[in-house]
Symmetry: C2
């Protein structure tokens, strides 16, 4: 097989060993004579996988006993609504720091919930320009952030997949210090690529289809305090409490999705844990941003240096025509997924854990060659 | 491989050809050099699968142009809440006909939504006894049903997986005639095993993990009229409108789940369509209920004859000890998933499309032998 070099933003490349393991036992899981997806979610065979996935995640991230792990459905997009539904009561306010398209989407759903419940949302927007033309090129610095101590929570999207800006990438734009206000973060494209002080977050959530597994599962790490505070007057399926009490088995979960997550987490552990993984990711980021910065006449990063994402590297070429040619030429060399999001254009290379240094090096080498030829 | 005879209620057996096809191309989908789950949900390779799954479902069920097809997340359990959120306005009433555990669950979530929105729910319960001790042994006959013409909709669970009762199994307990009131049905374990006049339903929904594919996808067939009537003041992710406008690609769907559904639907089409499939299912049902009825001293169906489910066949033995022994002996012969739901006990054989006549015949043969030996 001629495996593609896959820079998709999500669903994205998965580690080959995790895929191979799944293929190997696809028809006959652990000698059970059935596919893992044919097992009951309440049977001991699947339950072992489910429990292992939770245990591996706890181990890799060092999740403290104060926090619960959930595997839910609906992706981060559903969480945009489900979080305020749980946590925002009548008369309360939540604070949204917005530095990209996903933060905007989270804000939109929170506003809908707030208006259903008679609550309100306060917004700090770090883009430039107005409305749909807004440009996002940075995450806020500590001095830009003023937390409202009366807010029920403060929400961020810690890495913006489309705009390529990230909190705490080089240390000078750390996660906001929110004091007594619970910090809630959409970490879909910012999860599991480095060690994380997860206890700092009231709630961190991540759609699986970047660094964790296939699409269809969203991982939620939530403090017991927030679980307990949650509203009880919403449908049971939307209460985090329900899923905590039932270990994410209240309704039938995406069993195959969680099985694949188990395979990915097990691969991550085999690599030596998240410190090792971070080293590899920093090396990849340095190589790729190095290739951009080495050719300032040709390549341009629209992102403030301190906010540059190590997961989604966005850059521009001198013209849209050259960008199109770049993508087409790269494709001929087996590299796919390089087209920037349709809302912003340009080039985007998503280099999650499963994208190897060799892949990134191939891209960077091609960038050097392509710039020389023009 | 020693493939198990799998009578799981869901997640359940999948057709072997659909699994084999997935295994074959697991690492290299359609020669693309990537797994199907590594493709972008907005790329042409995945989109072809997505569109094919929708087209196959429309073709197999003869879904009229008045109705839309959606592939969503959260399972039927989420639909229990999401449906009233869309359709139930302040001051309105919905009518719930309850003839089993899933109808009860749907009712519970509808009540929570009604109380959020200042609406109400009217209940017709067809069980015997009180509260948690309630026994469900039948679906209502036409003469038992009185539709409230002012209701926003009427809800049924058309096959109760736990209690083994089913609408329209032998023709004498047809789906309710609701006139101008939209009929909404949880058809999770009642979908795609026979032709269906789907245009009759305002909305029919089904968790995939019985007859359609792996868990993590819920199929929704909804009339355009209900889509348009839907509330606009709830979060976008919960509005059916959003998913219709975006062809179920508003947020990232469970791409691998939908791919597996495509494989299953393609297998069903290859069998010759749903009329052929119904014939096979009726033959299986006759064999299994025949084995129960042939030994009335030993086997007992708790279900009224006219309501007997052809998907979930429940029966009892003289004692719980014999039931345990039956399950253990069956297991030795490669048959799994026969334990009745923990809330009701007894034996349950779920014989969805992927359970072959040979499997059912093996079970029936074993039943005859087991009864003789005691």
């Amino acid at each position: 097989m001629n495996r593609k070099i896959n820079f998709n933003a999500g669903p994205s490349a998965l580690p080959l060993p995790a895929l191979e393991r799944a293929k190997e036992e696809f028809l006959d899981f652990a000698g059970s004579g059935m596919s893992v997806m044919e097992h009951s979610h309440r049977g001991k065979e699947y339950e072992a996988v489910h429990d292992e996935a939770i245990a591996l995640l706890r181990e890799l991230l060092g999740i403290p006993a104060t926090h619960e792990v959930l595997f839910l459905q609906g992706g981060a997009t559903q969480m945009f609504a489900q979080i305020p539904m749980n946590i925002l009561d009548k008369g309360q306010t939540a604070q949204y720091l917005v530095n990209g398209a996903w933060g905007e989407k989270a804000l939109g759903e929170a506003k809908a919930v707030a208006s259903m419940f008679g609550a309100s949302i306060a917004v700090d927007n770090y883009g430039e320009g107005e409305g749909k033309e807004k440009k996002y090129t940075r995450v806020p610095a500590p001095s830009d952030i003023k937390i409202n101590p009366a807010a029920s929570y403060c929400h961020i999207a810690s890495n913006e997949t489309i705009h390529g800006v990230q909190f705490n990438a080089d240390g000078s734009r750390p996660f906001p210090e929110t004091g007594v206000v619970p910090l809630i973060a959409d970490m879909s494209s910012d999860f599991l690529w480095r060690p994380l002080d997860i206890g700092k977050f009231g709630l961190a959530y991540a759609g699986a289809q970047k660094n964790i597994g296939p699409s269809g599962v969203v991982v939620v790490v939530i403090s017991k305090e927030l679980v307990e505070k949650g509203r009880k007057d919403i449908p049971k399926i939307f209460q985090f409490r329900t899923h905590v009490e039932n270990k994410s088995l209240y309704n039938t979960p995406s069993t195959f999705g969680i099985y694949m997550i188990r395979n990915v987490l097990s691969w991550l552990k085999g690599l030596g844990g998240l410190q090792k993984v971070e080293e590899a990711n920093r090396k990849k980021g340095a190589r790729l941003y190095g290739a951009i910065d080495a050719n300032p006449q040709f390549y341009r990063s629209p992102v403030e240096k301190e906010s540059r994402s190590l997961m989604n590297v966005v850059f521009r070429l001198p013209t849209p025509e050259l960008e199109e040619l770049f993508i087409a030429e790269a494709k001929k060399r087996g590299m796919v997924g390089l087209k920037g999001h349709r809302s912003v254009g340009g080039i985007r290379a998503s280099i999650y854990n499963a994208a190897s240094y060799e892949w990134v090096d191939t891209l960077a080498g091609f960038m050097e060659e392509f710039a020389k030829g023009k």
